[in-house]
């Protein structure tokens, strides 16, 4: 049975566990249910999920404000809001923040919280590594952004092409902070990937075969494999860059004979799978949401699973489509062009399956469903514009123009972010026990839809009219005069970005209002289908009173409804009754991992080391010492708190709201 043990051994240091008696000096903190200690030292996947979400939301606001500044600068020709230097930092950090500090960790938030619940587990495989991952992400994110106050942020674009990222062309420490900060968040992603894959493979409830796993869990699993193999590639690239900048290595020094395309290959071998890392979690979320509000199972579940996996595989063979203009030669260009078209097929399969899922259903349209349908439509627009630049010759006209900016914002904003918002509305009652307001949610949704389309749709025109990206100003001289002049559409896009910002503000207001006086959520507010709903809202610390045995895909639904021969469905039990059944058979003894001091200590050593590498090596050595201390503390700490006997299942009530923003 998938009972969670107190963590015994762990991967990074791979040191053995020893009984507490031998090392009495090292004590494990006592489990507490509230107060700052309950967050700082927690190893509970749900608390970590909430913290991931809160921090990611904070960075979403930071990245969003950067975007608004960019749009204000470009609203009129020869903008004066930002100077060239600041603008270059702004677009670099906007992308870096949105990709690495918002979408990825927000997907981690969902994965952390729901993956164990969806497979009927009580925690992840390595709870302390999970906590370490969160703290490393947080410290890495803070570290990158500290560069704003220490001489300027990175200014080479998130793609950071060599040699423009070298010490000569980017003399501030911004790129150093960027490279080292991403190493730190990369460590977080890597540990998270190992952890979640092991959790999925090893800790499924009895009967939960792989093909009975909820689709969200499937997509997250594909993403973790992508992370597992993509992160080391960017790690190598970042090391080369760091050695070049801080230790005079020659990797991108053209005078020494270096090939600047090396960076591009390494970056995009990571960078293209990264695109799927960003989008697949949201695909997973809406593949949960659409069936629930269509009251039908996901159409072609195996096709969705396999197309997700296919995207995961083919995603490795298309990286050079980011480099069609960089002079690869016609053979490579042709091969990568065709491979890129091939990846459109499994992506198209997903759109077809979503459409067929709602086809013939009994549709209701709460905000979660609206965001999910918004994703299907907006992502399709982004996908189709993607097909136009999988055609390499056509891409040489489009790449590095606003057409590409339009494309990937439809895919990433209309796709990834709409999916995340769908998830917020769908799972909020699960996490916080309260329903987000539908009224405010509708404002949130419609303003975001209008704002998003007003911001990004005109960028198709701007790009096709030849406005390149990454320009701190555009000029009247190249703007044209007719209906398609750059001036009008730049202004429209800027106004759209403000509307979009107001839309997001409504979400924050919604969180706030819900926390103050939100409606208490019923146990099964949406008549949901999967395992995470077979427990209280919010779930108890140990998730399930007894681990359910799974007999079907959509297990929860099948416990509520029975199907007659003719396919007629009758409700046999309410969601509450199903949950009560599980509570009645509660396990007598449930071991949950104790909190730990060491994840945060170990994570804290990382920015110290990084600081030292930039400013002074002795500081790095102090950081190294902290890391070593952290590893030993980690390995030697007892598996439980001495005075903490087995917890009686606590009700999990009174969980604090995390305010963001």
């Amino acid at each position: 049975m998938a009972i969670i043990e107190r963590p015994s051994t762990t991967a990074p240091a791979v040191l053995p566990t020893v009984p507490s008696a031998a090392f009495g000096a090292l004590k494990r903190p006592v489990t507490v249910s509230s107060g700052w200690r309950s967050w700082l030292f927690t190893v509970d996947h749900k608390k970590l999920g909430i913290m991931y979400g809160a921090v990611a939301m904070f960075f979403f606001i930071v990245g969003g404000l950067e975007a608004v500044l960019i749009r204000l600068q470009l609203a009129a020709p020869d903008g004066k809001v930002l100077n060239a230097d600041l603008y270059n930092q702004m677009f670099t950090m906007h992308a870096t923040t949105m990709v690495f500090l918002f979408v990825m960790p927000m997907a981690s938030a969902f994965a952390n919280y729901f993956l164990p619940l969806q497979i009927g587990a009580r925690d992840v495989a390595f709870p302390r590594i999970n906590a370490f991952g969160f703290w490393a992400f947080l410290f890495g994110g803070i570290f990158i952004n500290m560069s704003w106050f220490l001489g300027g942020a990175a200014d080479g674009g998130w793609f950071m092409y060599a040699p423009n990222s070298g010490p000569i062309y980017s003399p501030s420490h911004g790129v150093d902070f960027w490279a080292l900060g991403l190493q730190i968040t990369g460590i977080a992603s890597l540990t998270g990937a190992v952890n979640l894959i092991v959790t999925v493979l090893n800790m499924r409830a009895p009967g939960m075969s792989l093909m009975r796993m909820p689709i969200f869990t499937w997509m997250i699993t594909v993403v973790q494999f992508l992370l597992l193999f993509a992160m080391p590639v960017i790690t190598v690239a970042l090391f080369l860059l760091m050695f070049q900048r801080n230790f005079d290595a020659t990797f991108f020094d053209v005078a020494a004979g270096a090939d600047p395309l090396l960076w591009q290959h390494l970056f995009w071998i990571f960078g293209h799978p990264e695109v799927y890392i960003l989008i697949l979690p949201s695909f997973g979320i809406i593949s949960e949401v659409l069936p629930v509000f269509s009251r039908k199972p996901l159409f072609g579940y195996p096709f969705v699973v396999f197309s997700g996996a296919a995207i995961g595989f083919v995603g490795w063979g298309v990286w050079a489509h980011h480099m069609f203009a960089s002079g690869l030669g016609p053979v490579s260009v042709a091969v990568f062009s065709v491979a890129t078209m091939a990846i459109a097929v499994p992506t198209g399969v997903k759109v077809v399956n979503w459409t067929m899922t709602i086809w013939g259903g009994k549709l209701s349209f709460p905000v979660a469903m609206k965001f999910a349908l918004g994703l299907v439509i907006l992502f399709t627009i982004g996908g189709l514009s993607g097909v136009t630049h999988s055609v390499a010759p056509s891409d040489t006209q489009q790449t590095d123009t606003y057409y590409i900016v339009a494309h990937f914002h439809y895919v990433l904003f209309g796709g990834a972010i709409f999916g995340l918002f769908s998830g917020f509305y769908y799972w909020w009652p699960k996490v916080f026990g309260k329903m987000l307001s539908e009224r405010l949610g509708n404002w949130n949704f419609w303003l975001m839809v209008i704002g998003m389309n007003m911001t990004f749709a005109p960028m198709h025109i701007l790009g096709l009219q030849g406005q390149p990206r990454r320009m701190y100003v555009w000029t009247e001289a190249r703007a044209g005069e007719g209906f398609f002049n750059l001036g009008f559409w730049n202004l429209v896009a800027s106004i759209g970005s403000l509307i979009l910002a107001v839309g997001v503000l409504f979400f924050l207001i919604n969180i706030f209002v819900t926390a103050r006086k939100g409606k208490q959520a019923p146990a099964d507010p949406w008549d949901a289908r999967s395992l995470e709903w077979m427990t209280s809202n919010p779930p108890k610390e140990h998730n399930f009173d007894s681990i359910p045995t799974v007999g079907h895909l959509d297990e929860f639904f099948h416990r509520k409804y029975s199907e007659s021969e003719s396919g007629q469905l009758t409700q046999v039990k309410s969601g509450e009754e199903v949950i009560l059944d599980l509570e009645k058979n509660a396990d007598a003894h449930i071991h949950m991992p104790s909190p730990s001091y060491w994840p945060i200590v170990l994570a804290l050593s990382l920015p110290v080391i990084a600081f030292g590498l930039i400013y002074s090596i002795p500081v790095a050595m102090v950081g190294g010492a902290i890391a070593l201390l952290g590893c030993y503390g980690w390995a030697l700490e007892p598996s439980t708190a001495t005075d903490d006997e087995i917890d009686p299942p606590s009700s999990g009530q009174g969980k604090e709201m995390v305010h963001v923003g």
């Binding site: 097929v345 259903g361 030849g466 390149p468």
Partner: protein, 407 residues
């Protein structure tokens, strides 16, 4: 049996016709208007035309697929909304339908793929080259270097910047590279973009059907003034091009003694020649004045100013060297008169005094560049871009008079 190649040939006219299909929404409208100078849907040369023939049908296909998908979703949202109907049957999918709907897009993409691959190779062809120009990018301007090509009248190398001048109807091969970071050369109406990468030479085909000026812009982010790194490609008729070559190869004419321009030459020799070459310019002692930009700027190059007044732009084509009226006169000229007007160069009346003087007064204020000594520690004191020279108003007056003689 029809070979794949024949199939492609038969399908091409069909696809060409497809592009006249009414396109979707703004995409269609953007296609009809061709008013921005860098419009990517308004080819004026065979290479860009090739791309356009390929991309327009694909835009059409994408639009149609989009309409079908949105139509299906909109229909389903209306038809299957909750009207109190019973919970639908819990069907898990129809494999036949799934496979069909997988194969259809795969087939469409296969067709697109065949045409794409063909165009990729057509655009990479080098065997039909009729003229070579070396194009070198650096922060934040382009240098055009015409190697000796006797059959085109280029008997000595020509080095220029700001505007790429070439004859119409001639298959030009740009050999691109860079002296510092990666740049990208892009004249949308003539061809797609191609990166200029330091340490590599990339080939880029260029050909214009008609005389005229074609706007372009650096499209690989290249640092502080990336936004200001523009280019203009000037196509001249073959006869006019020959005249242009003669103009460029003409000997240096030193200003007459006692003129303001002559004093300007002295200022130039004291200040500007550290970086800027003027071919044929001699010092007071009669030795040739050779610029040494490699000692002063990171890229090791600065624009050659020998025939500055035959160009319409300066400072990486960021500023016009001529007043807006004179510029409009050239840009809007008819195809017949364009060459003549362009070859007339910059007269004193047409000179854009305001920008040129501001530039000489304080270049880094006009264009973001790395000229602050505090920022030059990582480059051993070398500048990126033109520094502030602390010229007096008097010197500027003289320099402008001198520069006007550089034709």
């Amino acid at each position: 049996m029809v070979s794949a190649g024949q199939m492609v040939n038969r399908l091409t006219p069909v696809l060409r016709r497809l592009k006249f299909l009414p396109l979707v929404g703004f995409v269609a409208l953007a296609g009809c208007a061709s008013n921005a100078p860098q419009d990517t849907w308004a080819p004026e040369g065979p290479n860009a035309q090739m791309i356009d023939d390929l991309q327009k049908p694909i835009f059409a296909v994408a639009g149609i697929v989009g309409l079908i998908v949105f139509g299906a979703i909109a229909f389903a949202m209306y038809k299957f909304r909750d009207r109190g109907q019973p919970i639908p049957e819990q069907t898990h999918g129809k494999p036949v339908l799934e496979i069909t709907l997988t194969i259809i897009p795969a087939l469409i993409l296969t067709v697109i793929g065949v045409f794409t691959v063909r165009t990729v190779f057509d655009l990479a062809k080098t065997s039909d080259t009729e003229m070579v120009i070396n194009v070198t990018g650096q922060q934040w301007w382009w240098e055009y270097d015409y190697p000796v090509q006797e059959e085109l009248g280029i008997t000595k190398p020509i080095i220029t910047s700001g505007q790429l001048v070439f004859p119409v109807g001639t298959k030009v091969m740009l050999r691109q590279t860079s002296r510092d970071v990666i740049h990208s050369y892009w004249i949308p109406k003539l061809n797609g973009k191609r990166d200029a990468v330091p340490g590599r030479v990339h080939l880029n085909r260029l050909e214009a059907d008609q005389p005229g000026i074609y706007a372009g812009q650096c499209t690989e982010f290249c640092g502080l003034s990336h936004a200001n790194m523009r280019m203009e490609a000037v196509a001249l008729s073959k006869e006019d091009f020959a005249k242009w070559v003669d103009q460029q190869l003409a000997d240096y004419q030193a200003p007459a003694e006692g003129t303001l321009a002559k004093e300007g030459e002295t200022v130039f020799l004291n200040q500007c020649v550290r970086c800027h070459q003027v071919n044929g310019l001699k010092r007071a002692d009669g030795t040739p004045a050779i610029a040494a930009p490699d000692e002063n700027v990171v890229s090791g190059a600065a624009p050659n100013l020998s025939k500055l007044m035959t160009r319409n732009t300066f400072a990486g084509a960021m500023f016009d060297l001529v007043t807006p009226e004179c510029r409009a006169d050239v840009w809007d000229a008819s195809r017949e008169t364009f060459g003549e007007k362009y070859l007339a160069g910059v007269s004193e009346e047409c000179l854009n005094q305001t920008d040129l003087r501001s530039w000489l007064r304080n270049a880094p204020e006009m264009k973001p560049m790395y000229a602050n000594p505090a920022l030059l520690t990582s480059t051993g004191g070398k500048y990126r871009g033109m520094p502030y020279l602390a010229l007096s108003e008097n010197d500027i007056e003289k320099l402008v008079a001198y520069l006007l003689t550089l034709k």
